[in-house]
């Protein structure tokens, strides 16, 4: 029987407090973000002071792009004196057109004076306390847009970080249930001693589910638009925010259907986790001897759960993560996300088991059990990398605009993060767990498992943040604090649950095999 220690309680309470502070600070930031009207008013006021026109219009502007300066009969249709514009907004006047005698033309231009917005940007930044990316500014409207974007991201930040941490820990609990169920489905013998660990982790599902529902419902009532398609008017052709692509998806992406789906997934998972737990506890009391009743029941529930999760994990992935980048789609996405959560769940089970071993429990476990954890972590890290690569490479290779935009954004603004994620999630487990002796060493396994958890937090971060925060992303106090807060909550709930029941279940028919578990060859 395990008893939760004061240290754990203290540790997790501190983490929860950090989380509460971070989330409160995030909400404070979110609520105090400057409103759209105020931004418009301020920028206009400063622009007027600087004598900048709101919209710079070119008179007699024929062509937006100097690339098109011949008609279908190969006649030059640009005259000297025509005004045109480069892509970066630099206005030009054609001064001379020359032919090269072989059907090609070249032209000379005299550059117009480019309007200088740097002073406006500087003043707006100072006044509103924001940052504006000057490389995309070609008009005063752009300054307003950019400032709005900044504040939208600012008010969005706390919701994104909440969603990341909620999904991360919720889905890890669900994946731990999957891990648990798979031990029954596969009739695994080695793990029978430590099945109470995934059982304790499943107890986090209701808490995670509650927070997730809070995020989804507040999105539904337009407190925030983490899910872009929830925005008002996006499906209305008469609305300025109308988005045809999203409107075409509204048969699936609409709030009532979305909410009911979410409820079905969460209630279903909780129901199966409850049954598994119930049978496992009943087996302690009523099992034993040659009675296989409770084991067989657990087996059946596990099969049904795996089947249910097989379907719902796919659609939950589309709903909760993929629909953030509403335009984008990828058939592989949900499997890839599940692989990420599954390997993190393996890592958490390993971490908790090793922690308990260090604190003097689980004396029956030996190196071979560690070896199996090492294999799990190594194999599923490679599997995750395989799926990551399959999705990335196919999209990179085909280079179809509607798909590649997803990685374009990530490459432009999140490049170092992607590299770090791949390094942590693939290279480190691959190199550190390759050797037999390292798989069998508790300390090394613990280190790699912690790295994997961190790496997959980054992975989930990369799934969500680019769709909600775009270029204005942070990995600062709010994100880290929220993560730590959730970690504290998770640890507290899991360990409290561990101390409620026998740490090692009795009467499981495989216990004997687990006690005698030994990997002879490597």
């Amino acid at each position: 029987m395990y008893r939760i220690t004061k240290d754990i309680k203290r540790f997790s309470t501190i983490l929860i407090l950090i989380g509460v502070v971070a989330i409160s600070y995030g909400f404070f930031q979110s609520l105090t973000a400057t409103s759209d009207d105020e931004i418009k008013y301020t920028v206009k006021k400063i622009a007027n002071e600087l004598d900048l026109k709101l919209k710079v219009k070119l008179e007699n502007e024929k062509y937006n792009d100097v690339g098109y300066w011949m008609d279908e009969n190969d006649e030059v249709i640009i005259k000297t004196g025509d005004k045109s514009k480069y892509e970066d907004g630099t206005k030009v006047v054609i001064t001379e057109i020359n032919t090269d005698g072989e059907g090609g033309y070249s032209f000379s231009t005299k550059k117009d004076k480019k309007v200088d917005y740097s002073e406006l940007i500087y003043k707006v930044e100072k006044k509103l306390n924001c940052s504006i990316d000057s490389s995309h500014i070609h008009s005063v409207e752009d300054v307003i847009y950019s400032a709005k974007h900044y504040f939208h991201a600012k008010s969005q930040r706390v919701w994104s970080s909440l969603l990341i941490s909620t999904l991360f820990f919720l889905m890890i609990s669900v994946a731990a249930t999957l891990w648990w169920a798979l031990q029954y489905v596969a009739q695994a013998g080695w793990s029978a001693l430590l099945l109470r660990v995934p059982m304790a982790i499943t107890s986090f599902i209701p808490y995670g589910a509650f927070i997730l529902i809070f995020i989804l419902v507040t999105g539904g009532i337009h407190w925030h638009h983490t899910f872009h398609w929830m925005a008002e008017g996006i499906n209305d052709p008469l609305d300025p925010y109308y988005d045809e692509i999203i409107a075409n998806k509204s048969a699936y992406l609409n709030i009532p259907f979305f909410m009911s789906r979410s409820f079905i997934y969460l209630l279903g998972w909780m129901f199966f986790a409850y049954l598994l737990k119930k049978y496992s506890l009943k087996e302690d009391v009523y099992g034993g001897g040659h009675s296989m009743k409770w084991y067989n029941k657990s087996f059946k529930v596990s099969v049904l759960f795996v089947l249910f999760l097989g379907v719902t994990s796919s659609s939950a992935g589309w709903d909760w993560i993929m629909s953030i980048d509403t335009h984008w789609f990828s058939t592989l996405f949900s499997w890839y996300a599940l692989a990420s959560f599954f390997v993190s769940a393996c890592a958490f089970i390993a971490i908790i088991t090793i922690y308990l071993m260090y604190s003097g429990y689980f004396k029956e476990l030996n190196n071979s059990h560690m070896h199996d954890f090492g294999r799990y972590l190594l194999a599923f890290s490679i599997f995750w990398t395989y799926l990551w690569f399959a999705q990335y490479m196919l999209i990179w290779y085909s280079n179809i605009p509607e798909e590649v935009a997803y990685y374009q954004e990530r490459y432009e603004y999140y490049y170092p993060m992607i590299i770090i994620t791949l390094l942590i999630n693939f290279i480190t487990p691959f190199l550190l767990l390759m050797k037999r002796s390292s798989k069998r060493s508790k300390g090394q396994l613990l280190f790699v498992a912690c790295l994997i958890v961190l790496g997959h937090y980054f992975d989930v971060f990369l799934m969500i943040t680019p769709g909600t925060m775009h270029d204005h992303w942070h990995l600062g106090f709010i994100e880290i604090g929220t993560f730590l807060g959730f970690l504290g909550l998770f640890v507290l709930i899991v360990f409290r649950n561990l101390s409620k029941h026998q740490l090692i279940q009795k009467n499981h028919p495989m216990i004997g095999e687990s006690e005698h578990h030994e990997i002879h060859i490597h």
Binding site: W396, Y397, N399, H520, I521
Partner: protein
């Protein structure tokens, strides 16, 4: 004193393992155990070092990784760079995703094949090799233990331990060759007999006959 070889024949892997442990604990060295399948724990009991084949495989994998990277860099980037499918090949990193599948395959190719060649080389296995197990029954269901000793007293002790641990037969020979010749003689005799009688499909009875003959001795 002349060096003798003591052979203990066992019918159970637990017996041979127990015998090995006991003989080693008395300070003798078990030269060899011939078995029809790998007996777990036997290598440690005999004091064999851990095999380093896995490490060589890793090295070979690295070699394959390096070679194929060099080859692809030379072909695609250095020798004749082209723009393929809108993707330029001016540097290796530009088209890196397209190189990963082949890199993986070549790494596995080298790691697997070179390791197998190392294995065959280290064990002296090659097609046409004349080496074999002294007693043909050790590929069927018997385990043959071989201990060298010259001191007659110690020989008796070893024989005793072998018998205690469940050996079915214990023989002392001057060399491996003696044992093999003896068995070969039995075999050829048996073959002649079976040819004369035109027994084509006598399988199971054949080896039992040898065993019985040896036992009768």
């Amino acid at each position: 004193m002349e060096n003798k070889v003591i052979y203990g024949l066992y019918g159970d892997d637990d017996h041979v393992l127990a015998a090995t442990k006991k003989i080693v604990s008395k300070g003798y060295r078990v030269n060899e155990v011939y078995s029809p399948y790998p007996v777990h724990g036997l290598d440690t009991a005999m004091g064999l070092n851990y095999s380093r084949l896995a490490i060589t495989s890793f090295m070979y994998g690295l070699l394959g990784f390096g070679l194929i990277t060099l080859l692809m860099w030379f072909i695609m980037i250095s020798d004749w760079p082209m723009i393929i499918g809108g993707k330029p090949n001016f540097s290796y990193g530009q088209a890196l995703p397209a190189f990963i599948p082949v890199t993986f395959e070549a790494t596995v190719f080298c790691a697997a094949h070179l390791m197998v060649i190392t294995f065959l080389f280290r064990c002296g296995l090659f097609p046409g090799s004349s080496s074999r197990n002294p007693d043909p029954r050790t590929t069927d269901d018997k385990f043959l233990m071989e201990v060298s000793e010259s001191d007659p007293k110690k020989i008796t002790e070893i024989k005793k331990i072998m018998k205690e641990c469940g050996a079915e037969e214990v023989n002392v020979k001057n060399s491996v060759k003696e044992l093999m010749d003896e068995i070969d003689g039995e075999l050829s005799k048996k073959n002649k007999v079976s040819k004369r009688r035109k027994v084509k499909k006598s399988n199971s009875s054949f080896l039992t006959n040898i065993i019985n003959k040896i036992k009768r001795k």
